[in-house]
């Protein structure tokens, strides 16, 4: 029984990684490629590490496998966010079928300044407060 579950997890993880590679090869621009790779590859690694924990069935190995799972779950979104941000700042092209880019009208790439669209002169001025350190 446990052999069957292990084999299923290993094959499913490998297929998810193949899916991520297909996504990175076929999708048209940086953000869609990141959307394919981050989630599918993270789930693939998680499934394979679960299979490893089941195979050895020792406390030390299972703890290390779960450490990898937690590490992947914490770092995959952070890395994707930072690469996407850097890619937008260096001006990577979006796909021609992109429907909406909400950052474009509010962000000035030269001064690196972001506006909310709701600034007034009164809002923009900074009022000193009593709680400020002197």
């Amino acid at each position: 029984m446990i052999e069957f579950i292990k084999g299923t997890f290993v094959i499913a993880g490998a297929l998810l990684m193949l899916l991520a590679s297909l996504g990175i090869l076929r999708l048209p621009d940086l953000l869609t490629r990141m959307h394919a790779t981050t989630k599918a590859a993270a789930l693939g690694v998680i499934l394979i590490m679960l299979a490893v924990a089941m195979h050895f069935a020792e406390v030390g190995v299972a703890a290390r496998a779960f450490a990898i799972i937690v590490f992947i779950l914490m770092t995959a979104p952070v890395a994707a966010h930072i690469i996407g941000r850097a890619g937008y700042f260096v001006g990577s092209k979006l796909w021609s079928g992109t429907v909406k880019d909400e950052l474009r009208p509010n962000y000035d790439p030269l001064t690196h300044e972001l506006k909310s669209g709701h600034e007034t002169k009164a809002n923009a001025r900074r009022e000193p407060k009593e709680s400020d350190p002197s």
Binding site: A20, R33, A79
Partner: protein, 89 residues
């Protein structure tokens, strides 16, 4: 179990090849960074599968180190891109 391991290794090697095509072709540097991060993830999976195949649990430590290096490489490349290093792509 051995045949399952063999099939999964073949599938992951195919994934590595497809990913490498994107590393070579990638039109800009961020695309290549994303592909290299996927590379690290697939190698972590391959090391885990090899640990199952060879019955040696110490390979899991190598997988931890590879995952860590992949994350740090992605962060470093992103900082390099944002600070505006030399680009030719």
């Amino acid at each position: 179990m051995d045949i399952v391991i063999l099939i999964s290794q073949v599938i992951m090697s195919l994934a590595l090849i497809l990913c490498f095509v994107r590393v070579v072709r990638g039109p800009s540097l961020p695309d290549r960074v994303v592909a290299l991060e996927l590379f690290a993830s697939i190698v972590v999976g391959l090391v885990g599968v090899y640990a199952i195949k060879s019955d040696v649990s110490s390979f899991i430590d190598a997988a931890i180190v590879i995952a860590l290096m992949g994350f740090l490489a992605a962060i470093g490349f992103a900082r390099f891109l944002e600070r505006g290093g030399p680009r030719d792509d």
